[in-house]
């Protein structure tokens, strides 16, 4: 093989290597970037936002369902654990779910799995001490794989007549940063 051909093979191989690195890197980064931008679009962190029924003007998240009312709480655990309290709607499909910064759905609980009238979630990062809380309510402690993420409440609009009641219930949902318990010595 002459020197010129060897030269070409080397540069083609280098180009393919660059292409593979860029391709795999972009596949890895894409969900993280999409989630970061979605969290920014959804509004201030550690506050519950109740959305209107999706229409063609709703562009915050791709493929929204016009048959669902959504409430969202983008969270940031850097200042402490997150406490979410929400009424549970039992008249149609209802669920509360949690997504990490990688878009993975690491928790979901629906109304059929939650007979209580309300539910409390405490979201902590691994290694973060959770707050001391009373034992009076139905509570789930969630370990978030990432510091930032999203709590999402869905309720199916089974009948347009039920929209005001569903909205009223979603407006009672709360999401707030709470102080960690002091570390034991």
């Amino acid at each position: 093989m002459n020197e010129r051909a060897q030269d070409w093979i080397f540069w083609i191989a280098a180009t393919i290597l660059v292409a593979m690195i860029v391709h795999l890197g972009s596949i890895y980064l894409l969900p993280r970037v999409v989630m970061m931008r979605a969290l920014e679009r959804l509004g201030a962190a550690n506050i519950m936002h109740v959305g209107k029924r999706p229409t063609s003007a709703s562009h915050a998240i791709v493929r929204p369902s016009p048959d669902i009312l959504y409430a969202t709480c983008p969270y940031d655990l850097s200042k402490g654990p997150l406490r979410v309290t929400t009424p549970v709607i039992h008249t149609s499909y209802w669920s509360v779910s949690a997504f990490d910064s990688n878009t993975d759905n690491f928790f979901v609980k629906n109304d059929q799995q939650t007979p209580a009238a309300s539910l409390e979630l405490v979201v902590v990062e691994r290694g973060q001490a959770w707050p001391k809380l009373d034992n009076a309510v139905e509570r789930v402690i969630l370990f978030s794989p990432s510091e930032k993420g999203l709590i999402l409440i869905r309720t199916v609009i089974d009948d347009d007549k039920h929209i005001p009641a569903i909205e009223a219930s979603l407006h009672q949902a709360r999401c707030e940063t709470v102080a960690s318990a002091p570390k034991l010595r």
């Binding site: 890197g25 999706p54 229409t55 998240i61 997504f99």
Partner: protein, 192 residues
């Protein structure tokens, strides 16, 4: 000088090829298409931490914040039952019976993955809103310019579109074997 040009060339061409490959693999197949049931396609690992990086990237672009399949199965159709790409100027008909699930809906989306603007503000049909035949089955008109009598209608704009069939709390047969459950058919009726 020559070497610098070659390095720059390898970086530019390699980057372009790498991004083109990413665009190619994430731009098609909706949220993932490893399960096909007629025109309806889905992926069994949507939303779960078990999903591979490719499914995760596709879901981020076309179905961000999707739930796992025990909670909701999302079937997406980009073609009719004969495999032709869906276009809103054509008229389609969805025929079927209620799938085994707690609640279902069928929604049309434009190629930008958002709801399609229309004067009637109609975007979807659901288990509770669909008009039914006497035997309980349903026929849904999709696309075209107006609603036919006695049928629910989902307008679909005037360009390419896709449909998402959502099954909330699907029955065990659906969740375990989404490939073989009976889903509504999606046939083209006419094109202008």
């Amino acid at each position: 000088m020559h070497v610098a040009v070659k390095i720059a060339g390898a970086l530019v061409v390699g980057t372009a090829l790498g991004l083109a490959a990413t665009w190619f693999v994430t731009g098609r197949g909706g949220m993932g298409d490893n399960v096909a049931n007629g025109p309806w396609k889905t992926s069994l690992v949507v939303g779960s931490p078990q999903s591979d990086p490719y499914t995760r990237a596709r879901v981020a672009l076309h179905g961000l914040l999707a739930l796992n399949r025990k909670e909701t199965i999302y079937f997406t159709a980009e073609t009719d039952s004969d495999g032709a790409a869906l276009n809103g100027t054509c008229r389609y008909e969805i025929d079927g019976r209620d799938p085994n699930t707690r609640w279902w809906s069928i929604t049309a989306y434009g190629s930008d993955d958002y709801l399609i603007p229309n004067p009637q503000n109609l975007y979807s049909v659901s288990q509770t809103s669909v008009l039914r035949q006497k035997d309980g089955s349903f026929r849904i008109a999709v696309g075209g310019t107006h609603a036919p009598a006695d049928m629910s209608w989902i307008p679909a704009g005037s360009g390419p579109f896709s449909l998402t069939l959502r099954l909330y709390n699907p029955g065990p047969d659906v969740a375990l074997d989404p490939e073989h459950v009976v889903l509504p058919t999606l046939k083209k009726v006419s094109c202008p």
